[in-house]
């Protein structure tokens, strides 16, 4: 009998494929076709797709609803769950609900603070943080118990992921937190977008020293962009982004910025592919989701492997 696996993403990682994930943002509205259209464009080019949970604290269709719609279109989805808007009651309830809908991957996050969104006057929750949410979800899945100790007859089934930021400070404390996420039960990681490849290499070196790459799969974050303005904005305003000046200068000098953006993304993919302990990439183009298939093809990552 074949070994049991929770999700095809997990299966592909365990089989040693270099995995490709990408990301979609749900609509500010209730249109299911918005999700379906995005799903059709990605189908076949990626192994799994994250669907964000009110990212940058802007109200959008819920991640779980969007993931269900996209799953019906044939995509393997990764729901995102943040601690900003729900307490432990709501979070556990959503994990149960998502699993009952057949959603099998979850990226568990603390979440962007609401000052980044349009509802600055909202009250945040942060009853738990990402590490605690991972621990709680892990106990629900593996032990069949809720945080309050109640046992479930039918526990949720999910492959748990988390975020890692190789560029945030303080480095050593961030590494402690990364280890804690693994200890709590995170099985795969998606990293912050990599522009500073040297810093990423250094981070991976430290990860390998601690043997952490053997305890969880690490997917390197790639953010294709075609705009100097976007790079400058990210450098200045996006918390935890490290964009070297050379990257911006290179984009400024490019004649065809779209082509340059793709080229830069492909180069980064080729670099991270060589690094021991990197199990795949996570593509997260902002407002340029249609470029994902191009990047995947140009990086030689198409077609994607099938799972029986």
């Amino acid at each position: 009998m074949a070994e049991e696996y929770i999700s095809t993403l997990q299966k592909k990682l365990e089989d040693g494929h270099f995995v490709v994930c990408s990301e979609m943002g749900p609509p500010v509205g209730a249109d299911p076709d918005f999700i379906k259209n995005k799903a059709h464009k990605l189908k076949g080019y990626v192994d799994a797709v994250n669907i964000t949970d009110n990212q940058t604290a802007i109200v959008r269709m819920s991640s779980i609803a969007g993931a269900k719609i996209a799953t019906e279109e044939g995509l393997e989805m990764i729901i995102q769950v943040t601690c900003r808007d729900r307490n432990r009651i709501g979070l556990q309830s959503d994990i149960l609900g998502a699993s009952s809908l057949g959603l099998r991957n979850a990226l568990l996050l603390t979440g962007d603070h609401q000052v980044f969104g349009k509802d600055k006057g909202s009250k945040n929750v942060f009853d738990m943080g990402s590490v605690q949410l991972i621990q709680v979800a892990s106990d629900m899945i593996n032990k069949g118990v809720l945080l309050n100790g109640s046992e479930m007859e039918v526990p949720p089934k999910m492959f748990i992921g988390a975020a890692a930021n190789p560029f945030a400070d303080p480095f050593e404390m961030q590494m402690i937190k990364f280890s804690k996420k693994i200890e709590a039960g995170a099985r795969f990681f998606q990293t912050q977008a990599i522009y500073n490849i040297d810093k990423f290499k250094y981070w991976m070196e430290e990860v390998r020293k601690l043997g952490l790459h053997k305890k969880a799969y690490i997917l390197a974050g790639i953010l294709p962009t075609r705009s100097v303005k976007a790079l400058k904005m990210m450098k200045k305003f996006v918390a935890g982004m490290d964009i070297p000046d050379e990257t911006i200068e290179r984009m400024e000098a490019a004649e065809d910025r779209k082509a340059e953006g793709v080229k830069m993304a492909v180069e980064t993919i080729e670099e991270v592919k060589k690094i021991e302990g990197v199990s795949g990439v996570h593509l997260m183009p902002v407002a340029w989701e249609e470029i994902t298939p191009v990047v995947v093809k140009n990086a030689g990552l198409y077609p994607r492997p099938e799972v029986d």
Partner: protein, 224 residues
């Protein structure tokens, strides 16, 4: 201490409205005196400005002032009795606790808040106060080397910094120190970094206001 800041003058004027002829401005001599928002000095200054305002718009308003030691204790509110009773309105420059104590002590009178009660904090510079405690009801300072992540991390994270911490600053505002940078630096200096590797389970918030409005009884002195 409790830190407060005076409400905007126009807001105070709007709040007071037109339906009064006499006003008592009541200050508080404790916390909000230290945060320079509701002590004797601020009471007198506000009285002067309001006097000028009502004079300018041709209204005849009589303004009295008084500052007691603490508005949050009934024993100090007794001395305000005559002034409270002979004025149509009282504007309290105490924290929200003081305002409500006045209401309870003199239920037939109207009291309005002249301050916004902001937080429990410390004086961190001349004219600067910073939040240091949220009164969660179950102190964890022993675990974090005397620096509180509940009050001072924008997300109250107990297991380490979020990914938005850069150059020692919080993603919410570069004016805010990342408290995890402070905790980390202190742990490192004390040679106790390994203590921060322990998984911290979700906090029991029932001792905070999530358990409902709180009351504290000291059985030794309480008489019911």
């Amino acid at each position: 201490m409790i830190v407060g800041e005076q409400k905007d003058l126009n807001e105070i004027i709007d709040m007071l409205g037109d339906d009064f002829d006499s006003l008592l401005i009541a200050g508080c001599g404790t916390c909000v005196t230290v945060s320079m928002a509701g002590g004797e000095k601020e009471v007198e200054a506000l009285a002067e400005i309001l006097n000028m305002h009502y004079k300018n718009i041709g209204r005849d308003v009589k303004i009295e002032t008084a500052t007691v030691k603490r508005q949050c204790d009934f024993e100090f509110l007794d001395e305000l009795e005559e002034q409270v009773k002979r004025n149509d309105l009282t504007l309290s420059l105490a924290c929200g606790v003081g305002v409500q104590q006045l209401v309870e002590r003199y239920p037939d009178k109207i009291f309005l808040p002249g301050l916004n009660t902001t937080f429990y904090g410390a004086t961190t510079d001349t004219g600067e106060w910073s939040e240091r405690c949220i009164g969660c009801g179950n102190c964890v300072l022993d675990q974090y080397f005397g620096i509180c992540p509940i009050a001072r991390c924008s997300k109250s994270l107990l297991n380490g910094p979020c990914g938005g911490s850069q150059d020692g600053k919080c993603e919410v505002d570069p004016e805010i120190d990342c408290v995890w940078e402070l905790i980390y630096n202190r742990a490192k200096k004390l040679g106790k970094l390994d203590e921060l590797t322990k998984l911290e389970p979700p906090k029991d918030w029932s001792t905070y206001r999530d358990g409902g409005p709180r009351k504290l009884i000291n059985e030794e002195v309480y008489n019911d």
